[in-house]
Amino acid sequence: MSLSSPTEQSTITRTEGDVPAPPSADAAPPRSVRDWRWGAMPVWLRRVLVVVLLLTGWQLYVTISGVNPLLFSSPADVGRALVAGFQNGELLRATGTTMRVLLLGMLFGSLIAVVLTTLAVWTRFGEDVLVVFSSMLNPLPSIAVLPLAILWFGLSETALVFVVANAVIWPIAINVNTGFRTANRTIIAVGRNIGLKRWRMISEVLFPAALPHTISGVKTAWAFGWRTIVASELVFGVAGGGGGLGYFINNSRYYLDIPDVFAGLVTIAVIGLLIDMVFILIERRTVVRWGMKT
């Protein structure tokens, strides 16, 4: 301990010396010096640069290696396919279909999760049901219930919604339940002291107290749901009106329209990015503002 401490100390000092002074304008010395180091740039710029780097590398690889265009597309081709896909409505329709099923599944799944967790705080029986069911069903890849869903609901959107709902219930229920269980005891005592009864206690004290857990549960659920819906569509093909993104990707491969395959994948990635930004916004306006998340 005493032997290692000088080393530690010097490391600390060096690190501190490396940290640049805050590059804000008002703190700047008389002549304005632009700090071009990576860490000094704003977050959005750094992220955009990473994407640009990725695209450049991708384009360079395709140009230099001369890879078979039936196996791998260049970003330029994918960009053209994206524009065309959204212009002729095919990709847009596929995205809409997927999102609709996904949102319906999320809606039903989270409603069921809320009911389950509410019962779990109300009664010991409800808690036991939640614990047993979530430990049984959470590890089950929900795509595995697709055959059953098709058997029960036919080749319909209902089957897909059912599968997605299955994927999202458990992450939400487990997280909300953890949030309830770890809610601050003092706050709960205050709630009882000011005369709150069961329902208000849950909706106005426990739920807000569990919000940080709930948000991370919904985030996980969203990722699970996304994977499940795309995977289901790959297996499922067309349901009712038209196919979703999974179907779009698989169908494009079938017709050897490789840029379209990539366009479908890129669409999925971009939507994932957008949704992540929505979550960040929600967190900023709630748990971050309230100091419940550091």
Partner: protein, 283 residues
């Protein structure tokens, strides 16, 4: 006014005690409280009796672990009595309620998702007040605690002292039958603590609310209390009830020192479990 929930019939109504004075607000009679620990019943409070008159501030003091907090939580309705009776305004305290507003020691007793104003106004709304009415009352009590300029802040933006001020304003705003304070200044630094004691004295005088205040500090007991109930080591009983005169409240006066010495000797008779009090007593 906040109305305590309507008087229900039999179970909460205590049998009137023949020796009970008419202005007795809180009556603790042969209270015995304990916990189940690994299948055995550990008695924290053995047999405690005392009465509190309306408008009085009574301090509960005793060595660490003597069950003073346990007693407060039982009066608040969070814990059950093993034996004896506790009544507030003639009703037994079987469940928590806004007629016995509690201020806890913990800083995190505020709702983090509500701003300062709403932390005080929300309990009023939930007790039958209209929004505008509740807001107005909350403002009034927050002003009394010197918080007018922090109304739109969230609890995490407040210092420990300010958080406790909000909690005190919330409890007073409920206009309870009596106020229960569980070492609310226990985690504050000395300076903030002294300030809050003065503020509490002022607001208590202004509102005339009956207060039961748990503390482990002899100084705090003298500065705030009309009477001090001294408990023994657990399983605890009342060792003595000490009257605090106005002269004794003047810090440094002869009277103050003699009361302090007396309370100190009462606390240390068992000679253990009172380390903090020893430190305060000897400084």
């Amino acid at each position: 006014m906040v109305h305590p929930s309507p008087l229900r019939a039999d179970p909460e109504r205590a049998v009137p005690q023949p020796d009970e004075r008419p202005d007795t607000l809180l009556s603790v009679s042969h209270a015995s409280i304990g916990y189940w620990v690994n299948g055995t019943f550990a008695r924290a409070v053995a047999d405690v009796s005392f009465d509190v008159t309306a408008g009085e501030t009574i301090m509960l003091i005793g060595p660490s672990g003597c069950g003073k907090s346990t007693l407060l939580k039982t009066i608040a309705g969070f814990l059950e009595l093993a034996d004896g009776t506790i009544t507030v305004a003639g009703r037994r305290t079987l469940a928590p309620g806004p007629d016995r507003a509690v201020v806890f020691q913990e800083f995190d007793q505020l709702f983090p998702w509500r701003d300062v104003l709403d932390n005080v106004a929300y309990p009023l709304r939930r007790n039958g007040r209209k929004r505008s009415d509740a807001d107005q009352q909350a403002r009034r009590y927050l002003e009394m605690m010197g918080l007018s300029r922090a109304l739109d802040r969230h609890p995490h933006q407040l210092s420990g002292g300010m958080k406790q001020r909000v909690a005190i304003a919330r409890a007073f705003a409920l206009e309870p039958v009596m106020l229960l304070m569980d070492e609310p200044f226990g985690a504050l630094d000395a300076l903030t603590r002294a300030r809050l004691q003065a503020e509490l004295n002022a607001i208590a005088k202004r509102t005339g609310v009956t207060i039961l205040f748990v503390t482990h500090s002899i100084e705090e007991a003298i500065v705030l209390g009309d009477r001090v109930v001294v408990l023994t080591d657990p399983p605890s009983v009342v060792r003595e009830t000490v009257q605090i005169t106005d002269e004794a409240k003047v810090v440094g006066s002869e009277e103050y020192r003699s009361v302090r010495t007396h309370l100190g000797s009462l606390l240390h008779r068992d000679g253990k479990g009172a380390d903090e009090d020893v430190a305060e007593f000897t400084d």
